[in-house]
Amino acid sequence: MLAFNFFGATEGGLFDINATLPLMAIQVVALTYILNSLFFKPVGNVVEKREKFVSNNIIEAKNKLSEVKKLEADLLTQLQSARTEAQRIVSEAEDESDKLYKEALELANNEANASKEKTRLEIESQTSAARDQLSKQADDLSELIVNRLILEK
């Protein structure tokens, strides 16, 4: 039982060291254990859990970002290759059409030349035939004239 001596003699002074010292030490040690279970542990758990959560999220976000960058680069190369492929196809088609055009042109030219030549030959033959006929008629006529002149004489 505590026997409070409120009216005890006032003695001591500033440097009066007594049993207050060890009891205060015990009290502080007890306070350490109480505060540890009441304050430091629970608050520490919550704070560290949150810190872990935040750092995990940051790591995850970084991973995702690098993945996105990789995908982006991948897409870019794909786009590049698709573009060159398209260019290749376009130029190929252009070449093809050019070739076709040239072929057709050549064919048409040849045809035209051939028919021109044929026509020329025909005209020439007809001309010569006409000229032959004409000269024959002229011969006939001259013979006739000669004959007539000779007869009249």
């Binding site: 009216f7 005890g8 001591g12 009066d16 049993a19 009891l23 009290q27 304050f39 629970p42 520490g44």
Partner: protein
């Protein structure tokens, strides 16, 4: 005689007077325990309220307590080091909180209004017993920290970097608790006395700046005490290469 008693009542400057409790053969300074119980009770109530409903999104008191926890962790981590600061954080934090609450409680609460038959209520840290108790606990803990972490190799610390340091390091083991206890005791007692004398001489306005200075000193002393305690423990567990 009458005038004399009136003056002592009015001045209420009682230095070195204690409220004695007698338990069997031992005597205690009752005023120290009374104030410390009131202040620590308030602290525990405050902390219980703040940690009652812990959430991932801290609100109100929990925010404040988390700030306090973070502050103490930073203090312990910078002084003790990453490896063992976890073991000592509750002790360092308790020292800080105890000294801080005692100092501020002693300065902020008008204890004068409560009359005691002898002595007067005030900051528990203005009593030499309290500060020596705290300082001895710090001494014990840095010895324990050193021995439990490094075993007998702890004593290499005494001859580091050269054996010439041995007497100084041994002397340090005595000066550390001495300086810790007397610094805290002296500062807080001096602050109480200065405020008391000023209130006695000029009861209006003038003591207020000194009271604010006292609050500042009180907070700084709590920080110094906790930081030094952590530093001593850190020094004891530090590995020399």
């Amino acid at each position: 005689m009458f005038f004399n008693s009136l003056l002592t009542n009015f001045a209420a400057l009682e230095v070195g007077q204690h409220l004695y409790w007698q338990i069997g053969n031992i005597r205690l300074h009752g005023q120290v325990f009374l104030t410390s119980w009131i202040l620590l009770g308030a602290l525990l109530v405050f902390i219980s309220l703040g940690t009652k409903k812990m959430e991932n999104d801290p609100k109100g008191l929990q925010n404040l307590l988390e700030f306090l926890w973070d502050y103490i962790r930073d203090l312990a981590r910078t002084q003790i080091g990453e490896k063992v600061y976890r073991d000592w954080m509750p002790f360092i934090g308790t020292l800080f909180l105890f000294v801080f609450v005692s100092n501020w409680g002693g300065a902020l609460i008008p204890w004068r209004l409560i009359k005691l038959p002898s002595g007067e209520l005030g900051a528990p840290t203005a009593d030499i017993n309290t500060t020596i108790a705290l300082a001895l606990l710090v001494s014990l803990s840095y010895f324990y920290a050193g021995l439990s972490n490094k075993g007998w190799r702890y004593f290499e610390y005494y001859v580091h970097p050269t054996p010439i340091m041995l007497p100084f390091k041994i002397l340090e083991d005595f000066t550390k608790p001495l300086s810790l206890s007397f610094r805290l005791f002296g500062n807080i007692l001096a602050d109480e006395l200065v405020v008391g004398v000023l209130v006695f001489l000029v009861p209006l306005i003038l003591p207020i700046p000194v009271m604010f200075l006292g609050l500042f000193t009180s907070a700084i002393q709590a920080l110094i005490f906790a930081t030094l305690a952590a530093y001593y423990i850190g020094e004891a567990v530090e590995e020399h290469h």
